[in-house]
Symmetry: C2
Subunit: 579 residues, 2 copies
């Protein structure tokens, strides 16, 4: 038996959700690049044609027919451009399909498959429908899709290439066991897998295990880019049939990974299960055994990965929604300094506008630290003092205490929104995950904004990221973007004289550890206490977290970087009595 | 064959989510009332022990063990109180149960059944686990529960009583077909079915059809009360084996419906399927064939039903979250007048505070209409003019046009929130569904608040409700609560001189019809045009709706009354390019 060879291209593209024209153009362009580089097979990510996740757009017949038309058109365009002779695997929403199990009289809710099309010679030659639908965490795929059955094998130069989609590899049994029986020569896994801290430690070993159990190389292909609260990190890779890494794409940017593989031919190997469609793609182009184009990117360290995810999430929210610029309050504190640095890394200093909004309680260092941050970043900073705006309100309404403190924060919100409405800036809200967890913010005040860059970053990680970003700059001989003083001084909302956060909250390292146990690990009150936290502290913090749910519901979206972000990852009632 | 008789009690209670102590006390009290009235069997609603829906609380082992303890305790309490001799059916979250199909390395997400326990003689004698899990509309039950299998028959005085839970009856095939095979003498359906306009037209015919196909009477039991955005309307009922209505409970309030039924004995009838547990409850108490206690409430008309749902949703949000009072801006317009009337109907005039916040552009009639509304309702009205608060901001920031208009709305928000922070009022936000759909509101301005009583009520329905409520008052010789002038004058945001809504929006009857097509009926752009709307108008309105998604995400919750409320009923991306 000869050992034929394939050059496989994994194109990790950054689709714009619903923009079939622009996504198709990108796919065509990537196909032509890969074709020119001698690829025999090109694959794109999950729903690369439509963007992902499409949520309830999946139940709009109009959206689905646009997807279908775009796919047909794309197949013709690839043919016309001279690349019709190599199979192209593209994720798309495949419908409408009426589900006979839907409840009578309810709005139809399940009318599509989550699929990957095989385009070949100007036509859609076949589709693989995702078998396993995730319905946990941020995913609602039982809501929006129906599970597929059967298999598609792309038979190319005697080699059978099978297709899986994302969740398919996360389930034991099911479709992976079926592939172990079929014994394809290669498995292409088409993914839309959002970034999470340390998820890389999970994906690669999992795929390696699947490759070894199926006995074939696996090509794991992920999307890249930000879509609302999700950041797809790319980081596509290929493992051989023993599960050993052989090629790896870039993270956090589009890339076309080319990989030469020695694969087993189907003859005497593949077992054809019922429900398997074979797409015969003949002998393909020339063989490429003589050269190797496989590359392996070195993965970045964890802080760099988090920073990159935050930058990409912010950039894509700005660009995909067409904002010319962003504006944010610069208080001199760590959170706003880090958000400003992220914004500059995302869209450049010319499009970032800072506003210093000192009150009568603002310390001199607040203003000078804000100035310092703006200078380091090269962004425009304007000053809008708030005392003259706040005093008439406090007086007219006879407010004092926290009610008066909140007016300061809310007038800052009015200022940022006013400037946004005048000049078209997107307002960034600078709250971190710790304060969002315990409700340590003023709703309609410091929480105003369309995007919250660090909403899933705990305070202790904000500090770590700031230090990492400064070190990174220093190592390249650049100006560290975050004022040292913003990193080292005790955090304060400065809503009254001498106030610091630690007046009303425990030390942040302790608080973040407690929140991690209660929120991310989902431990119960007693289990958190068993970790060694004082029972009174646990009760106090847990009550703060539960009571702040109504504020979180009204908060801006921002990039998920943890295994448990607030929002669709964690769905809890507002009205809830803790027993 | 004798025809034995049962007196069945359906207790539609209003649970507080997570408050096992208070829910158990209510259940015990209802059991004793029904027992004293000679009931042979008592049933409660879906998750009556915990409240419903519990969302991701279902994955907290601590929450589930509290539920289990509460259930065990309740069984003992019923026994101690002398009512242990009759079976009690109670909905509860039944776990934790580890799901073997869960993906490796992901947070466990499915560890409970949605169940109904049968309590008898101080013990939990058995549980029925819901077979069919809804995962559409507002429901995420595939996320939080695992489907049950098997059946439970409560064998009482020779009669087999089967149990179903809510979605079980909405699916053709499946569990209802199994019951047709088993042939129980009675089926008790335990529900948590939220109110929707015209849903009553669906429930009763559906249940009648199931009763006829199973060949047994069905007792349909619903929860009552508000839980965040859902309102359970009660309206429990019983149909005979031909599907004919024989008894009906109250709507929108707790009730215990007693119903005497002549039921077929199991002997020579029931077929015991594998996986069926029979709970033998002996002969029960005395027979009650001599009297009939069945009552049938007359259903209310549709406007009254909607009004009642809004009142109940608002009342329960206030009471279950422990707010002493509510505050809202009274502009003299229809929306705030209707919200104030709802609030007075919900919690009485002493706990409702109105604020008139005239600007330099406010017409004289705005102030007088706000005064009129407050007087009709008997609520306290204070006046907080905004000109002196707004002018310094507009001047300092050099704002004009819409940016300046928004400052007026935002200062009103600052005032309401300031008074809320000082006095503990819940702020009601008065936006209607039409303006929320097209984004015709100022975010952090008129949108501030913890609860939005009419967020799911289109503008045209707001007017209808106002007229209905006034007629209702007149028919009882009471003062119509809503000023006639607020109903008849052209709606205006009054953010500049002479402004009316219709300057920038089409007539509301046309707009609401278009929004119904696009949002509720989920029609595509072309399908909406095909209904006869001008293509340019459709494009304009559809674009407004899509672009306002980010604002809706940050909006307050409020009662769902339609088949498609904004929020978890309709999940769409913010970042989305319309092709």
């Amino acid at each position: 038996m000869a050992m034929p060879n394939l050059r496989v291209a994994l194109a990790q593209s950054n689709p714009r959700l619903g923009d079939f024209r622009s996504n198709s153009a990108q796919i065509l362009s990537d196909v032509l690049v890969a074709h020119a580089q001698g690829a025999d097979l090109i694959a794109f990510g999950e729903m690369a044609l439509s963007g992902y996740p499409i949520e309830d757009l999946a139940v709009r017949p109009e959206f689905l027919s646009h997807a279908r038309s775009a796919l047909t058109e794309l197949a013709l365009e690839i043919m016309k451009a001279g690349a019709g002779d190599i199979p192209v695997i593209v994720g798309f929403p495949n419908g409408p399909i009426r589900d006979s199990s839907e409840p009578p009289n309810s709005t139809p809710s399940v009318i599509a498959h989550n699929s990957a099309a095989v385009i070949y010679r100007g036509e859609v030659a076949g589709t693989y429908d995702k078998h396993h639908l995730p319905n946990y965490g941020v995913f609602d795929e039982y809501r929006n899709f129906i599970p597929g059955t059967g298999h598609v094998l792309v038979r190319l130069r005697g080699i059978d290439v099978a297709i899986l989609i994302c969740e398919d590899i996360w389930r034991d049994g099911g479709v992976c066991d079926e592939l172990a029986e079929i014994r394809p020569g290669l498995v292409v896994v088409v993914n839309g897998s959002p970034f999470e801290q340390d998820k890389d430690d999970v994906r690669l070993p999992l795929v390696s295990r699947r490759a070894a159990s199926v006995g074939a190389p696996f090509a794991y292909l992920n999307l890249v880019g930000g879509q609302d609260d999700l950041v797809f990190d790319g980081d596509s890779f290929v493992v051989d049939e023993f599960g050993t890494l052989v090629a790896r794409a870039k993270s956090f940017e589009p890339d076309i990974l080319l990989c030469d593989l020695e694969l087993a031919a189907h003859e005497g190997r593949t077992v054809e299960r019922t429900g398997t469609q074979i797409i015969d793609c003949g002998d393909g182009g020339e063989s490429h055994t003589d050269i190797s184009v496989s590359t392996t990117q070195t993965p970045r360290n964890e802080l760099e990965r988090v920073w990159s995810a935050l930058v990409l999430g912010l950039r894509d929210y700005v660009e995909k929604n067409g904002f010319p610029s962003v504006i944010l309050g610069l208080s001199g504190g760590i959170d706003s300094a880090v958000c400003a640095a992220l914004a500059v890394d995302a869209i450049g200093p010319d499009r970032v506008f800072g506003v210093s909004m000192p009150s009568q309680w603002s310390s001199e260092h607040s203003r000078s630290d804000a100035d310092d941050a703006a200078q380091r970043l090269g962004i425009t900073l304007t000053t809008q003092p708030i005392a003259e705006l706040v005093n008439p309100i406090e007086t007219q309404l006879e407010l004092d205490g926290i009610a008066a403190e909140n007016v300061q924060a809310r007038i800052r919100g009015v200022i940022l929104m006013g400037l946004s409405n005048m000049h078209g800036h997107l307002v960034l809200t600078t709250g971190n995950k710790t304060e969002i967890a315990v409700g340590y913010s003023t709703i309609y005040g410091d929480s105003v904004g369309g995007f919250a860059p660090i909403r899933d970053v705990p305070k202790t990680l904000v500090w770590e990221l700031a230090k990492w970003r400064n070190r990174e700059a220093e190592s390249k001989g650049a100006t560290p973007p975050i004022p040292e003083n913003s990193i080292t001084k005790p955090p304060s909302a400065e809503l009254r004289p001498g106030q610091v956060d630690q007046d009303s909250l425990p030390p942040y390292d302790q608080l973040d550890a407690l929140l991690d146990a209660y929120i991310t690990q989902r431990l119960g009150r007693d289990e958190v206490v068993a970790l060694g936290f004082a029972p009174e502290l646990v009760d106090r913090i847990v009550a703060l977290v539960d009571r702040a749910e109504w504020k979180r519901r009204q908060g801006a979206i921002g990039p998920k970087i943890s295994g448990m972000a607030f929002g669709r990852d964690r769905r809890l009632p507002v009205t809830f009595h803790r027993s």
